[in-house]
């Protein structure tokens, strides 16, 4: 399997043509029509596929209806129907998607609030294409560092499991499966890799020189 396939592009309802991060589906939420217009075009320039809405409630509906559709949510913090922090909490709890917050203000308290509510980034408006170009990293980073295998395992579970369960976080069977798979993988690597630091091995039986 190539890295791109592991990224789960093929397991989402997809064209399959684009290689991640190209074609990555993003949902952008902002009640300000100018910001939405500019953001949509900036994201398209980054070669993402963009859907937009100017209401947090609609955004939630779109995300719940198609749980596997979007990789990332970018949302303004200040919206009349529901504030961005609330949306962030709900998206995180129910859907476990990475959320990037946008705001015209960069007050430390607001940024702190965003991060503690689970935002994976907090960007100050106006955002530039440079900032958005690498935002796909949050999809890969989502759970832990070097979690590429995990994304694949999760997407496989999601694709098989259907709609999933409301309110249940992913600290469940898919995580346990991941941990087991990762463990097995590490053990396999250790068996094969004789040139590693064999600290637990009996030093007197060292036949091969250590690779420095």
């Amino acid at each position: 399997m190539t890295m791109e396939e592991k990224m789960g592009v093929s397991s989402r309802e997809d064209d399959g043509k684009d290689q991640f991060p190209n074609g990555m589906r993003v949902l952008a939420v902002d009640d300000d029509p100018i910001c939405v217009e500019v953001l949509e075009n900036l994201l398209r320039k980054c070669r993402y596929q963009v859907a937009t809405t100017n209401q947090a409630i609609t955004a939630l509906k779109m995300l719940r209806e198609n749980r596997n559709r979007y990789y990332l949510v970018i949302t303004d913090v200040n919206m009349p129907d529901m504030d961005g922090f609330k949306l962030l909490e709900l998206v995180g709890l129910e859907l476990d998607l990475p959320v990037v917050l946008l705001s015209a203000h960069s007050d430390t308290e607001l940024v702190m609030k965003g991060i503690t509510h689970g935002a994976c980034d907090y960007l100050l408006k106006p955002v530039s294409s440079e900032e958005l170009k690498n935002t796909w990293q949050h999809v890969v980073r989502r759970k832990k560092p070097d979690s590429k295998d995990q994304i694949f395992a999760e997407n496989r579970d999601k694709a098989q499991g259907g709609t999933g369960e409301v309110g249940q976080t992913l600290m469940s069977s898919s995580d346990k499966k991941f941990i087991k798979e990762r463990k097995d993988q590490i053990e396999d690597e250790e068996d094969e890799g004789d040139d590693n630091e064999d600290e637990n091995e009996d030093p007197s039986t060292q036949k091969k020189p250590r690779v420095v």
């Binding site: 029509p33 910001c35 217009e37 500019v38 075009n41 900036l42 303004d76 203000h105 408006k125 294409s129």
Partner: protein, 150 residues
């Protein structure tokens, strides 16, 4: 360089916007989004901005006349105004919005009112300049043909 005199005039006008601090780099971001598929993107966004923000200006004006003064509401309006102004690169307008917010936070009613008058002036000035700019751009004709190296 630019042989077409209208184009030259247009370039000078554009440069003056940046030199005099009316526009910042975000405007360039908009220009970069303009292409054959989206040939009037900048003008469209700016038009959208002026249409939408004039509503906001009116709301702020009404809120400033209301008693008692609702600083929270004013702050919320100004947050949106700042967001959209910064999205088109309106540098001076954005600066006034930031100042307005400071006055709101410190509960300074006089400060808010003075600042808002200044903000409206900057907003109107920029609008006139940009309207003249786009009108000249239309007269000068499309740029993509000869000069842009790819």
């Amino acid at each position: 360089m630019e042989r077409n005199p209208l184009r030259r005039q247009l370039q000078m006008m554009r440069k003056s916007f940046f030199d005099q601090g009316y526009l910042d780099d975000q405007f360039v971001q908009l220009e970069e989004l303009q292409d054959e598929a989206n040939p009037n993107f900048v003008e469209e966004v700016v038009t959208l901005y002026y249409r939408d923000s004039s509503r906001l200006i009116l709301s702020i004006e009404q809120a400033l006349e209301r008693k008692p003064f609702d600083f929270n509401k004013l702050d919320a309006y100004m947050h949106q105004f700042k967001g959209s102004s910064s999205s088109i690169g309106a540098k001076k307008v954005k600066a006034e919005s930031t100042l307005f917010r400071e006055y709101c936070k410190s509960g300074n009613k006089e400060g808010c009112m003075r600042c808002f008058q200044q903000l409206k002036k900057e907003y109107a000035t920029l609008r006139k300049k940009l309207e003249a700019y786009f009108q000249l751009a239309r007269q000068a004709g499309p740029m993509e043909t000869a000069c842009r190296p790819k």
